[in-house]
C-alpha cells in the first residue's frame, strides 16, 4: 500500500525542518493552478455582482438629493454615477439588495477556498523579485484585506453586531472602493492566465507553482474539493435565501437574520424593521391627538387620521426591502397618494420632492427625502391600512410612507410632517 510507505517516510521529511517559505511545506494535493482558476472565475463574476449591486443600493438612497439621505457626504467623485432611483419595477430594490446580501453569504466558502488555495504564495521567498512585484504584492493587501473587510462588516451588520470602528455605511462604501482598486488590478493581471489554464491546462514546460511539489496521498480529489465548496454554498443558500420571501420559504431559512418565522399572526404579520418600542414611540403620540402636518406653497394643513381615511384612498401591492438584504413579499397597502397630498399642498401637477419627518425619537432616517419621481408615482402612498387592516403600531400606525422600489428606511413610519417643495 503506497500510503503506508508514505506515512513511514514522514519523519524523514519532518527532520528537514520545513518552513512555510519552502514550497515543500505545503502538501495538500488539492492545490493547483486549475483549482485556483475555477474559484477565481467564480469570484470574478460574484464579486463584480456584489460591487455593482452595492453601488445600486447606494444610489437607491438618493444621497445626492438631501443631506438626510446621505451618510457619506465626503464621497467626492465616488458618487459620480448617481442617478434618480426609479420606482419601477416595484421589486427592483428587493431584487438588487437581496442579491447583494444573499450572494455575499453564498460566496463566503468560495472566498475562503480561494484564499486557502493561494496561501503558499504569501510566504514565498524572496518577498519581492522586483519593484514591480513588490507593488503588485502591496496591491494584494488591498484585495485580500478589502475583500475580508467587506465580508466581515457586511455579515456583522446584517446580524446587528456593530463591532466595526465607525458607521457601517461609511466603512462599507469606502471599503468597497479600496477593495475595487485591488480587485481591478488583480483581475487585469491574472485573468488571462486563469482563462488559459482553464482552457488548456498549465502550459507544457511551465511549472504549476500553486501545486504542492511533494503532495500527500489524496483523501479528496480536486473535483471533490470543489464539490465541497459548492455544497457549502448550497447549504448557505438554502438556509438564507428564504429571508426574501414571506411564509413557507422564510421558514426554510433556518440560520440567517430574519429567517424562520414571521412576527405573529394576522394582516400585520410580516417583517418589521424597527418596532415602535425600539424608537420610543409612545401610545399618546399616535392616539386621538395625532395630526399629520402637510406643508407647501398653499400653506400648512393638519389632518386627523379620520380625515385622511375620508380622502380618496388608493391601493398598491408593494414589498418592504431592507438594506440588510431581507424583504417581504408584496403587501396590500391602502392610503392617500402622495400625488394627492402634493396637490393639496399647492402642486396640482408635476409635484417636486417631499421631506418626510417621523415621530420616532431615535434611529437613523428619522427624517428622509423622496425625489419628485417617487412622489409622482401613483403607487407611492401615505399608507393607513395594510392587508385590509389598520397599520399595527410596529408597522407605523397612524400613517406611513410606502414607495415602490425604495429601500426600507425611506418608507418612513409614524409620519408627522410632509413638506413638499425643492429639497
Amino acid at each position: 500500500m503506497p500510503e503506508r510507505r508514505r506515512l513511514r517516510s514522514l519523519p524523514d521529511s519532518l527532520r528537514a525542518a520545513r518552513t512555510p517559505a519552502d514550497p515543500a511545506f505545503w502538501r495538500s494535493p488539492v492545490r493547483g493552478a486549475r483549482f485556483t482558476a475555477v474559484l477565481g472565475v467564480i469570484l470574478l463574476a460574484g464579486l463584480t455582482l456584489l460591487f455593482v449591486t452595492g453601488l445600486l443600493s447606494y444610489a437607491a438612497y438618493n444621497p445626492d438629493l438631501n443631506r438626510v439621505n446621505d451618510k457619506t457626504p465626503d464621497k467626492g467623485l465616488l458618487g459620480f454615477y448617481l442617478f434618480s432611483w426609479p420606482t419601477g419595477p416595484h421589486w427592483l430594490y428587493r431584487l438588487t439588495q437581496g442579491l447583494h446580501v444573499t450572494v455575499g453569504i453564498v460566496l463566503v466558502p468560495v472566498l475562503l477556498a480561494k484564499l486557502w488555495s493561494v496561501v503558499p504564495r504569501l510566504f514565498a521567498l524572496p518577498p519581492a523579485r522586483s519593484a514591480g512585484h513588490a507593488l503588485e504584492r502591496l496591491s494584494l493587501l488591498l484585495l485580500v484585506g478589502g475583500a475580508l473587510f467587506q465580508f466581515v462588516t457586511g455579515l456583522l451588520n446584517i446580524q446587528l453586531d456593530y463591532l466595526f470602528p465607525g458607521s457601517f455605511y461609511t466603512l462599507h462604501f469606502y471599503g468597497a472602493w479600496v477593495f475595487l482598486a485591488g480587485f481591478i488590478t488583480h483581475v487585469a493581471l491574472k485573468t488571462p492566465r486563469a482563462v488559459r489554464v482553464l482552457r488548456a491546462g498549465v502550459p507544457r514546460g511551465e511549472a504549476d507553482t500553486l501545486a504542492a511539489p511533494d503532495p500527500l496521498p489524496a483523501t479528496l480529489s480536486r473535483r471533490g474539493a470543489l464539490a465541497l465548496v459548492g455544497a457549502a454554498s448550497l447549504l448557505l443558500l438554502v438556509t438564507s435565501a428564504g429571508r426574501s420571501f414571506d411564509g413557507p420559504l422564510r421558514r426554510i431559512a433556518l440560520l440567517t437574520p430574519r429567517g424562520g418565522t414571521d412576527p405573529g399572526p394576522g394582516p400585520n404579520a410580516f417583517q418589521i424593521n424597527k418596532t415602535a418600542a425600539a424608537v420610543r414611540i409612545r401610545p399618546a403620540d399616535t392616539g386621538e391627538r395625532w395630526r399629520l402636518t402637510v406643508r407647501g406653497p398653499a400653506g400648512e394643513f393638519r389632518f386627523s387620521r379620520a380625515e385622511l381615511l375620508a380622502m380618496d384612498l388608493h391601493s398598491a401591492a408593494l414589498p418592504i426591502a431592507c438594506v440588510e438584504g431581507w424583504s417581504t413579499s408584496d403587501q396590500q397597502w391602502r392610503g392617500v397618494r402622495l400625488l394627492d397630498l402634493a396637490a393639496l399642498a399647492g402642486y396640482p401637477d408635476r409635484p417636486p420632492g417631499v421631506f418626510v419627518e417621523s415621530l420616532q425619537r431615535g434611529g437613523s432616517f428619522r427624517k428622509a427625502a423622496l425625489r419628485d419621481n417617487q412622489v409622482r408615482d401613483g403607487r407611492s402612498l401615505l399608507a393607513l391600512e395594510v392587508n385590509g387592516a389598520p397599520l399595527s403600531a410596529d408597522h407605523g400606525y397612524p400613517a406611513r410612507i410606502i414607495v415602490p422600489a425604495a429601500p426600507g428606511v425611506l418608507n418612513t413610519k409614524w409620519v408627522e410632517t410632509l413638506t413638499f417643495g425643492e429639497l
Partner: protein, 172 residues
C-alpha cells in the same frame, strides 16, 4: 523575464528602468491607477477612527492568514492523524464538520445571541431559535454522513457480489 540575446552594444552597464522595475510599463500604469483610487477612497475610509479602521483592514487579512487558516488546516491534519490507518473515512467526518463550522463562523453573533436585545427591538422576534437550529443542521449533516457511510459499507460488503459494475476504489 525574457532571456533574449542582447546585442553587445546594449550590454554596457547603464541603468535600465525596465530591469529595475521588473515588469512592463502597462503593469506600472495599472498599479499607479490602483493606488490612486485606493488612496482617494482610503483617506475617506480612514477619516474618523483611523487606527481602528487600519487595524480592521490589515487585521482581517492577518487573522485569516495566520490564525483562521492554520487553525482549520491543523484541525484537518489532526483528523487525518486520528483516522490514520483508515484514511477512506476522513471525508465522512471532514465534510459535516467543515459545513457546520462554516455556519458557526458566519453566524456566530446570531448563534451566540450576541445581539439578542437589539435584534428583538428591531425585528419583534427572538433570535434564540438560531442556536437550536444550528445544532439541528449540524446533527442532520452528521446523520446524512453516517447514512452515506452505512450505504457504502453495505454496498461494498465482500459477501455481496453485486452485478452492477464494481466501483473503483474512491480516491480517498
Amino acid at each position: 523575464m525574457s532571456t533574449r540575446a542582447v546585442p553587445p552594444a546594449a550590454r554596457r552597464p547603464r541603468f535600465s528602468p525596465r530591469r529595475a522595475y521588473g515588469e512592463g510599463p502597462l503593469h506600472l500604469l495599472l498599479l499607479a491607477a490602483t493606488f490612486c483610487l485606493a488612496g482617494y477612497a482610503g483617506v475617506r475610509l480612514l477619516d474618523g477612527d483611523t487606527v481602528g479602521v487600519l487595524l480592521w483592514f490589515a487585521g482581517a487579512a492577518v487573522l485569516h492568514d495566520l490564525v483562521l487558516l492554520p487553525v482549520y488546516a491543523g484541525a484537518d491534519r489532526a483528523l487525518r492523524a486520528a483516522l490514520g490507518p483508515r484514511p477512506a473515512l476522513v471525508n465522512f467526518v471532514r465534510v459535516p464538520v467543515f459545513l457546520s463550522g462554516l455556519l458557526l463562523l458566519i453566524w456566530f453573533p446570531l448563534i451566540a445571541r450576541r445581539t439578542e436585545r437589539r435584534y428583538e427591538a428591531a425585528a419583534g422576534t427572538s433570535p434564540d431559535v438560531y442556536f437550536g437550529n444550528w445544532l439541528l443542521i449540524t446533527g442532520a449533516l452528521f446523520a446524512l454522513s453516517a447514512l452515506w457511510l452505512l450505504f457504502r459499507a453495505l454496498r461494498s460488503r465482500p459477501g455481496r457480489r453485486s452485478e452492477t459494475k464494481v466501483r473503483p476504489s474512491a480516491p480517498h
